[in-house]
Amino acid sequence: MVAWDYIAKRLLFAFATFLIASSAAFFIMSIIPGDIAYRMLGDFATPKAVAELRQELGVDQPVAIRYVEWLGNLLRGDLGGSAYSQEPIVALLSRKLDVTLELAFLATMMGVVFGVPAGMLSAIRPGSWLDAFLRPASILGLAAPSFWVGLLLLLLPSTLWNYAPPRFEPLLGSPLRNLQLMVPASAVIGFAFMASISRVSRTTMLEVVREDYIRTAFAKGLSERTVVFRHALRNALIPILTLVSLQFAALLGGTVIVEQIFSLPGLGQQAIAAINTRDYPVVQGFVVFMVLVYVTVNLVLDVATTVLDPRIRFA
């Protein structure tokens, strides 16, 4: 049974969240102190050029009017155009989307594929060497700054073995060369992700294995493997899913950093370039885009959680 009511409610809520957050992005960008046109053109701009740019950007209109117009365009999927190239921002960002998505996907996979089993195993065998190793390792994974880990990952092989990863190539162009660069890049984010996932997996698994139904399952004579995978993991997955959705925000932030270190032509690099050239409409579009991705991922994981666990719907 799927609770359509619940899903509809979540959908509505996600939409409201997106509206509030992207409106906030609009207002943040409109509080830029002084004149945005002056900031873009620099100190030597002629008044005429400033006036023209103001008109072009629409900032000669009052904020309220601009907001309504912007919101209307947003709902039609139009984020406006770059202040310099006039290219539609949606098209600009879509071109860069694949790199960032690949990074996020690889990092999530690494976090889940290594983090969940590590947490599970250390919970099933508390006090084992794995358990003793995992706790400090996971705190270390959370503490190490991603920009530093990324730099070391580039620096060490190059000083020790004179190895440098190849330049960026698109995944579809030459997959192998692409992965040679993307795997270490996503490992930087995946490392921190792994740390938090293994921590939560360990905690929930410790709680689950104490439950009565686990004892019952063992008492029935089921093998440890069946109990762990069929009974315990299924129930431990829910908090893990919740964590993945919460941590996805940190992951998106991480892509900005990693794209900068590994010179990957993704959304984050585009945003930083836009900040440096003061192309504020692009920065604003980037923020709205990230919020949209985050809200969507949360919505999907939320619905997935309710399908896995009917109790949540009625909580």
Binding site: I139, W148, L155, V283
Partner: protein, 301 residues
């Protein structure tokens, strides 16, 4: 704390009386039970000390350029080496602690205070205000933290105050949300009901019963947030959006202005990041230890 009167002769107390003695007892208890947490606290205190008295502790002037020693490796006189302008890296790391620790402290303190006020009000009084607050907090949390900070710094310009503001927004929302749920569970406990039954006013209930019971959570969150705030500040500085030069900052030491020299002078890339990692690690360990010590119910979470 109930057995204090019975176990200690009053004559053995130092001049400060019961209160000071209790503080000392709590401290000793913490050190005994959580040695790792105590070591972390010492590391943090040592860093704070070095940052506060940077001009006394550090061997050189942070902006002194020794052109005879450009990109010189770690030696006894320059333990962390020198950079491309011949400046002592150790000195710059010590001075860099100032800005990072200050921003961490400011963000933690203000987000803790604001978060406590919002969370307690929203959770304790409930109703429509609570629903609207939660909705707004959730919308604020829909911003990926670093990206919100990037947007704010871009709009406001990158001064120390603006970086603090930018990091603060997301942190306050998170603290408020967690405090609120904690208040909800405290509000429904028997001792609050009992106090209300004796005729205690809302103010008294809040001050004497609700707030003291969410303080442990606040302390734990503060310790963990301190570390994360330092990481966000580092990331912003790394991206060139942190406090502007000449303030030395760990994130900026690792950013593009030094990167081109890292291959020939790896110490430039290793030490600032290592110190930041150690600092965040210490705050995380301390936060974990405090959580286990202050609130057994949260243990392992």
């Amino acid at each position: 704390m109930t057995s204090i009167e019975g176990t200690t002769p009053a004559g053995a107390l130092p001049y400060g009386g019961w209160r000071e003695w209790r503080v000392r007892r709590v401290l000793i208890g913490f050190v005994r039970a959580r040695p790792l947490g105590a070591v972390s606290a010492c590391v943090i205190l040592a860093m704070a000390f070095a940052a506060l008295f940077a001009s006394v502790v550090s061997p050189y002037d942070p902006n002194l350029k020794n052109t005879a020693l450009l990109l010189d490796g770690p030696t006894l006189s320059h333990p962390f080496g020198t950079d491309q302008l011949g400046r002592d890296v150790l000195t710059r790391v010590i001075y860099g602690a100032r800005i990072t620790l200050f921003i961490g402290l400011a963000v933690t303190a203000v987000s803790g205070g604001l978060g406590l006020a919002i969370g307690v009000t929203s959770g304790y009084f409930g109703g429509r205000v609570d629903r609207i607050t939660v909705m707004l907090l959730d919308a604020m949390m829909a911003f990926p933290g670093l990206i919100l900070a990037i947007a704010l710094v871009t709009a406001l310009g990158s001064s120390v105050l603006n970086v603090i503001l930018a990091v603060l927004v997301g942190f306050t929302a998170r603290v408020a949300r967690l405090i609120r749920s904690n208040v909800l569970s405290v509000r429904s406990t028997a001792y609050v009901d009992a106090a209300r039954a004796t005729g205690a006013t809302n103010v008294r209930l809040l001050v004497r019963h609700v707030v003291p019971n969410v303080v442990p959570l606040l302390i734990v969150l503060g310790s963990l947030n301190f570390g994360v705030a330092m990481l966000v500040e580092g990331s912003l500085s790394f991206l060139g959006l942190g406090p502007p030069p000449p303030t030395p900052s760990w994130g900026r030491m690792l950013s593009s202005e030094g990167q081109q020299f890292f291959r020939s002078a790896p110490w430039l890339g290793i030490f600032p990041g290592l110190v930041l990692a150690v600092a965040v690690f210490a705050f995380n360990l301390l936060g974990d230890a405090l959580r286990d010590h202050l609130d057994p119910r949260l243990r392992g979470s």
